[in-house]
Symmetry: C2
Subunit: 353 residues, 2 copies
Amino acid sequence: LRTIEWDAERKQVKMIDQRLLPGRLSYIYCQSGEQVSHAIKTMAIRGAPALGVAGAFGVALAMLELSQKRPVDWYEKLLSSCKSLEESRPTAVNLAWGVNRVLSLINPQHSDLEGAARIALEEASRIAEEDVATNMQLAINGSALIDDGDTIIHHCNTGALAGVDWGTAFGAIRFAHEQGKRVHVLVDETRPRLQGARLTAWECEQYGIPYEIITDNAAGYYLRNGRVQKVFFGADRVTANGDVVNKVGTYMLSLAAQANKIPVVCVFPITSVDLSVDNGDEVEIEERPMDEVLSLEMNGVKIAPANAKARNPAFDVTPFQLITAWVTDKGIIRSQFSQIIKRYVYNKPSDGK
Amino acid sequence: LRTIEWDAERKQVKMIDQRLLPGRLSYIYCQSGEQVSHAIKTMAIRGAPALGVAGAFGVALAMLELSQKRPVDWYEKLLSSCKSLEESRPTAVNLAWGVNRVLSLINPQHSDLEGAARIALEEASRIAEEDVATNMQLAINGSALIDDGDTIIHHCNTGALAGVDWGTAFGAIRFAHEQGKRVHVLVDETRPRLQGARLTAWECEQYGIPYEIITDNAAGYYLRNGRVQKVFFGADRVTANGDVVNKVGTYMLSLAAQANKIPVVCVFPITSVDLSVDNGDEVEIEERPMDEVLSLEMNGVKIAPANAKARNPAFDVTPFQLITAWVTDKGIIRSQFSQIIKRYVYNKPSDGK
């Protein structure tokens, strides 16, 4: 079960349509960069690592199309495809990273467009493979922070569905479970798009991990009454100072955890680090359609007045002071994030921006 | 428009069925204590002050029924009705207060049961009238803390629908609006039952108060980015030390407000104070059916796997240290709650327990 992969027979990118889960496991196929952009925008695929891979495949598909049509201004067209891919979700840094890693291999002066397309596809496939290995390493590293008997509050979806496989924070929980540690997950539903209730709960069922769904509001209740040992989540972007830009609600959850001395663990690949930005307040926060807030139904009744307006920021900023541990594929950082992270990222420039 | 009232023609208690809002404004009629208990349990009526009035009318209806059937053990039957009324929602203290205020006027030795029923009904109607006056006073007192131009995050529903009229925290906002102060309300949706999106947004539309709905998760984003001047909510029970037991999510909201130096204003009638309990951690927190968490649909898709389990605490405890101002009908308390509240409650024993 892979969230996104290359279908060699169809010559298309195959991805799980996450909008239909948990009701139905079904796939969509993309044959152009544009279709990938659309899948990202409508959140058929989401999750920072998965977006990196989707972006890479999007460039490969765009290059494939150009190699068939061979327009004179093919490179400008490729750049424009890359731009719309990047802009389909502005906050997660992995998307731009995946796009640029493939783009950087394409030589504008080259005339062998089929060769360029082959190179692009190979690189995208390599990124997908690396994603599995990186996230497996994240799972191993993160699981070290989980003790037998832990009850963990988990925000959003950071499991296999957020990457090609394993994902980030949830991968660590899954690995701890596979090691035989008894874990219990309080899956917060994660409004507005309910990735917790829809996707993380579904993944818990796939792996047999004990869980219960709670509303986002109930996290404070459980953190305060001593029933929770850890809080785990991923990151869409981590800035140079260690601020975490992640799914909206992460900030309040982290505040409530810190107020009750519960460790806050953020798990992400080094590719989610953006050293070009000093702190989280400089990151553009995507505001998504208000329909995501207003379109719910409860017992057949629309949950808001017909003319209601809503605001819908998709992310928030959790200041580094609230994070107990940053778990990366290179190792765990417990303090002095800004110093240590530079060493990790600069030592392996191919992993950085 | 009254949330709950005596219908003299039908000799029944008439209440707005809040489960059908904002889709449809319709009423239910109760002719027995049992029907009132059921309306409370299923949340056709909710909100601390409204529950006090409902409880009072419930006792009156029970006494009316007994005065017609005249069983020998009528007083035991009355006590048992009172007990199930009180237990229909265990956390809000107003419910028990309303029930006991009517019950205390019934003399077990009396044989004029019609007279007792008349007394009970008069007292329940008086409680309803007092509720309007008290909440009007709350609105006046609370509005003093609202400045022209304020953007206010409001939790749950505390408007007219939470009382007979006016309500508590939202009444203050409505009064400020009627005074000509420009206010803007960020209505948090208040999962699981979405009283914010469903009821508070509907009330904003009734009074022409500018508002936008946000998810509960988004409150932290707006508190942190300087766009909010106040946080307002009500209380289901306030303990002797000033801890506030209120709709789940109040605690995290208050933490995020305090972390960003935004005033946290809690508005409630003196009848919501329970001096018999030292602090919030001693209050029984009602856990409601998991269906309230799991039964949502988004674009026709159930939001959780078919076999999912959920936990659903209806309230949480906000420690007194997080409250900037406790607004009561007797006045505003800004510090030393435990000393000052005793003076208010003891001076008017008929308002206390």
